[in-house]
């Protein structure tokens, strides 16, 4: 599904140049569940942002399907991203002013889906993550676990082929963390490709493959027996 070839990301600020990713080569197939691990600052988020087309690499190739999107501009990336990729963040990133329902619906607003169908799909997604009873609440009125479930609903409501999760359990207690992992596994079982960054070894165990990063480079890839 996607292939990174000699992918490098360099951040330049006024004083320093940080090589966040150094000649990374990774191949992820359709339907895989991949966990990315590594110490803080090793480049996990940078990798995920590029895979998620939120940012461009400095050099190298990024094959998504049969297109090299490495040099694509914002408009083209937005188009591909919209059709294919969903996101889950450590800090949930819900919009404070919108209700739970509206936050989830937002993901469909930019997809030209008629209002009636939007409503059905949002309800369906909320039901799937067991938060339907809170659909008219504002994010601040929910617990962290509940907020993350809303974020997951929002990520999947547009039925993306691939789900990217950056430390989705980082801000949650273990019970809520387990629940989120179960949901991801379920989604993977339905065919969604999942790439997840995590610090937690137990949560990494849900994945089929673990990629270890260190200082911007891939140092090990472990395939877990199914």
């Amino acid at each position: 599904m996607l292939k990174l070839v000699d992918l490098t990301k360099v951040y330049r600020t006024e004083e320093v140049e940080t090589t966040a990713l150094n000649q990374v080569n990774i191949h992820i197939k359709q339907g895989e569940f991949v966990a990315i691990m590594g110490p803080s600052g090793c480049g996990k988020s940078s990798l995920l942002n590029i895979v998620g087309m939120l940012d461009n690499p400095s050099s190298g190739q990024y094959w998504f399907g049969d297109e090299d999107v490495a040099g694509y501009g914002e408009r083209k990336l937005a188009d591909i991203r919209k059709k294919n990729i969903g996101f889950i963040f450590q800090s949930f990133n819900l919009i404070d002013e919108l209700t739970v329902f509206e936050n989830v619906e937002l993901a469909l607003l930019y997809h030209d889906i008629p209002a009636r169908e939007r409503k059905e799909r949002v309800k369906e997604a909320l039901a799937k993550v067991n938060i339907a009873h809170r659909e008219s609440h504002l994010p601040q009125q929910l617990s962290g676990g509940q907020q993350q479930r809303v974020a997951i609903a929002r990520a999947v409501v547009s039925r993306p082929r691939m789900l990217l999760a950056d430390e989705p359990t980082g801000n949650l207690d273990s019970a809520n963390g387990e629940e989120v992992m179960n949901m991801l596994t379920e989604l993977n079982g339905e065919g969604t490709t999942i790439v997840m960054v995590t610090h937690s070894m137990p949560h990494a165990q849900y994945a089929r493959r673990i990629i270890n990063l260190f200082d911007g480079q891939v140092v090990a890839e472990n395939l877990r027996a199914a």
């Binding site: 998620g52 914002e74 408009r75 819900l94 002013e97 993901a107 930019y110 601040q140 547009s158």
Partner: protein, 817 residues
């Protein structure tokens, strides 16, 4: 502690540079506007308050009350009125002073120039405190043949201000002895503005220029109202009790006047000195309406600026919720936080006040020049401006700081940290933006409508050809009257001159000669009609280019066309006097269509029959504010004082030079006063044009300030919504989607503002146009245009921010979470 606050405040203000700059600039503009307006209005409402006896001095106003009609009030009074008052009310009136203007001609470096001298009764300078540099105010005007000058006139005519006892010689040969030099008058007296006086003499001074006999004859003429009469009451006299005695006093002196119109009451009123400038009589001084408009517009512009200030302050403060929370957890008390916010806000306002002061100092002279108003330097000095600026500035500063101070310091720190406060101020800000744009849109609509009306009024049917004609004035002296015929002939021979005509007035001269006319067959008891009466010569109507609708105009080949005052007074012996009527006069007399009017007889005054020889189109003598009056043209030699020279299409600069030369050759002692007729006519609309300019200026300012605020708010919103926008982009929003989102957020208040502004402007402009007899219809397109303009300006202001935020990579927005 305070020092610490100030330091923190300065740091905060410097860090948020854009916000500080916008805030200071917008408020400074508002403050400068308000300070200038405030100063101007203060000046205009403090006229003639400095005379030490001012409380006892009044100007006499003549008033006519006719049932069911607006009262007529005028400051012109007959010559015998003053002495009659002094004589009939010896217990009440201490002194009376009459004042009248006269144009004199004297030589200034060889060329004859005209100047205006004020004839006044001897006590003038006892009533009015104008400080003397030399001479004795009590006696300076005691004798005829004296003259008092201002310092600058003394310099001009003598090259020195030490001129007591010297003589000023007029071209008529009269010599006036200088008995006083006064300091140049202050700007806040009617003798600087409405009746600019620089020369004074005793009321009995003789000029030997045709004035003396006529003026002396008016000693007993109660009918001729032309000079101003002031009275000083005795100390302790109640001015309020006098008016009740005036109607009887008037009746005693001028019998036979009471039957002019049924129910008419003529009386006098006492106008206090300080009210002279702001009483809207006779179109002099400044109308209270204009003052109110000035104050209103100033408040509007300042209001818009203050709203900006408050808006930007609250917006910025809400970004500092986290800081407030942390201060609170560290033990900061509410009072301290309130003080901190107030201090920041007041500092900012003071900076704006200072900048506003500088702006006002720089712009005030140009502003006054635009108004054609002079203010003494002491009114423009730094201190009075500073005083005008300081108070509003402090108020605005406190107001701007109050809301954030109170709102932000209230909640518990945990709420602030969770970001719960975010939503609150947004609606208030939107409402305030809406108010700003309502005001701005109303101003824009008013500007456009006033512009349209002024253009319409000045280009509408004048009834004559204003272009290509030259007016020569100043012939109302013996030399001028005597040489008028030869000048007429000489001018007519100049190549490039098509025709020459003489008249008493040209259109827009504010001529006021009206008379009663009726049809001979009208039954007794019908009310006479009052028509404007215009003395002209036989060539004038043709030279002016008035279309002839029926019959003929006066003909140089028919000596019988010409009449005179003497002939009119003597009445007719068998012959009738030919007249030309305007079409409105013919219609109001009931003569029907123009060609049916020709040959009919009309009665002038009591019994003088006139024969209508022609009917001409209506001539607009005043502004479009006045309805067309009926006009009767009489051909006569008396009264003629203006020559109208119609230029041929071939006329050029040489033609004008030849006209000037001819004048100088024939009248070496008379000053040449030449102007173009169309320019003269356009002056009627000078006030309107000025108002239009001012309004355009202020609506531009209003929009500019509103946009400064909008710009700041857009920057703030873009920043505050960075995270949200990032999320939206991650979810697939395109740049266009985001720009649309932000632009829409700011379009909403502007759209709502339109809904409020439209009816408001419609009513306001409907009322304003109501003052015109000839007026445009309000065009909805104008409203749409103003709205569209406001919307466009708002978009341009906001779109930059929106595009910048929208096109940023989404990852940058989310990274900081």
């Amino acid at each position: 502690m305070l020092l610490n606050y100030v330091r923190v405040a300065c740091r905060v203000l410097l860090r948020q540079r854009l916000y500080t700059a916008l805030n200071v600039m917008g408020l400074a503009l508002g403050i400068a506007t308000a300070a200038m307006m405030g100063l101007y209005v203060w000046h205009e409402t403090h006229f003639d308050g400095f005379h030490s006896q001012g409380g006892r001095i009044f100007r006499i106003v003549q008033a006519q009350y006719v049932p069911a009609q607006a009262p007529i009030r005028r400051i012109e009074t007959p010559k015998p009125l003053g002495p009659a008052l002094a004589q009939d009310l010896p217990a009440e009136v201490e002194t009376m002073v009459r004042v009248v203007r006269h144009a004199i001609v004297l030589r200034d470096g060889g060329t004859p120039v005209e100047d205006t001298i004020y004839l006044a009764d001897a006590p003038f300078f006892r009533l009015f405190d104008f400080p003397f540099l030399a001479g004795d105010p009590a006696t300076a005007l005691a004798q005829p043949g004296t003259i008092v000058l201002t310092e600058s006139r003394a310099r001009r005519y003598f090259g020195s201000s030490d001129v007591l006892g010297r003589t000023l010689e007029l071209t008529s040969g009269v010599r006036l002895v200088v008995t006083g030099v006064v300091r140049d008058l202050p700007s806040n007296t009617i003798f600087s503005r409405e009746f600019p006086a620089t020369l004074w003499t005793n009321v009995a001074t003789r000029f030997q220029d045709g004035w003396d006999a006529e003026f002396a004859a008016k000693d007993t003429l109660w009918r001729d109202e032309f000079l101003q009469t002031f009275v000083m009451l005795k100390p302790g006299v109640d001015g309020g009790a006098l008016p009740a005695r005036f109607p009887a006093l008037l009746l005693a002196h001028r019998e036979g006047r009471q039957d002019i119109a049924p129910g008419l009451v003529e009386t006098l009123e006492l106008q206090p000195l300080t009210a002279m400038h702001t009483d809207p009589m006779a179109g002099l001084g400044i109308a209270p309406g204009a003052l109110a408009a000035f104050i209103g517009i100033a408040c509007l512009v300042l209001g818009i600026a203050v709203v900006n200030f408050v808006n930007l302050s609250t917006a910025r403060a809400s970004l500092r919720a986290r800081e407030v929370a942390i201060r609170k957890t560290l033990g900061g008390r509410r009072g301290q936080l309130v003080a901190q916010f107030l201090l920041e806000s007041v500092l900012l306002a003071l900076a704006a006040g200072l900048l506003g002061l500088v702006l006002a100092e720089l712009v005030m002279p140009r502003f006054l020049a635009l108004l054609a108003v002079r203010l003494d330097a002491r009114f423009l000095g730094g201190t009075s401006l500073a005083a005008a600026v300081l108070l509003p500035t402090l108020l605005v500063g406190l107001l701007g700081g109050l809301y954030p101070a109170v709102v932000l310091s209230r909640p518990r720190p945990t709420d602030l940290l969770r970001g719960a406060q975010a939503a609150g101020g947004g609606r208030l800000r939107a409402a305030l933006v809406m108010l700003q744009f309502t005001a701005a849109i109303v101003l824009v609509i008013a500007t456009i409508v006033m512009g349209q009306q002024t253009r319409y009024a000045s280009t509408q049917q004048l009834g004559f050809r204003a272009e290509g004609a030259v007016v020569l004035r100043g012939l109302a002296r013996p030399a001028g009257r005597a040489g008028l015929a030869s000048l007429h002939d000489a001018l007519a021979r100049i190549p490039g001159v098509a025709a020459v005509g003489a008249a008493a007035n040209v259109p827009n001269d504010r001529s006021e000669w009206t008379n009663n006319y009726r049809l001979p067959e009208a039954p007794d008891g019908t009310r006479d009609l009052l028509f404007r009466t215009e003395p002209v010569d036989v060539d004038y109507l043709q030279a002016l280019g008035v279309p002839v609708l029926a019959g003929r105009v006066f003909d140089p080949a028919r000596p019988g066309d010409v009449t005179s005052h003497a002939a009119i007074r003597a009445g007719t012996a068998g012959t009738t006097i030919p007249v030309v009527l305007s079409v409105t006069a013919a219609a109001r007399l009931g003569l029907g269509a123009p060609d049916r009017a020709v040959g009919r007889t009309v009665v002038y005054g009591d019994s003088l029959p006139l024969t209508v020889v022609g009917v001409v189109a209506d001539v607009q003598f005043g502004t479009a504010r006045q309805a067309l009056e009926g006009t009767v043209y009489l051909a006569m030699r008396d009264e003629l004082s203006v020559l109208l020279v119609r230029l041929a299409p071939t006329a050029d600069a040489a033609t004008l030079a030849a006209i000037d030369d001819t004048w100088r050759r024939l009248f070496p002692d008379l000053p040449l006063k030449r102007e173009f007729l169309d320019e003269h006519v356009r002056q009627v609309y000078a006030d309107e044009a000025l108002q239009g300019q001012l309004l355009a200026l202020f609506s531009g300012l209003a929009i500019l300030i509103a946009c400064l605020g909008l710009f700041g708010l857009a920057a703030f919103t873009a920043e505050r919504r960075t995270k949200e926008i990032g999320i939206r982009k991650v979810l697939g929003a395109t740049v266009a989607d985001i720009v649309q989102l932000l632009v829409w957020q700011f379009s909403k208040p502007v759209l709502v503002a339109n809904l409020i502004a439209w009816p408001l402007a419609w009513m306001l402009m409907g009322w304003w146009l109501g003052g015109y007899v000839y007026r445009i219809n309000l065009n909805p397109l104008v409203f749409a245009l103003a709205s569209l303009a406001a919307l466009l300006v708002a978009w341009v202001t906001v779109a930059g921010h929106a595009a910048r935020v929208a096109s940023a990579k989404p990852v940058t927005a989310l990274r900081y979470e």
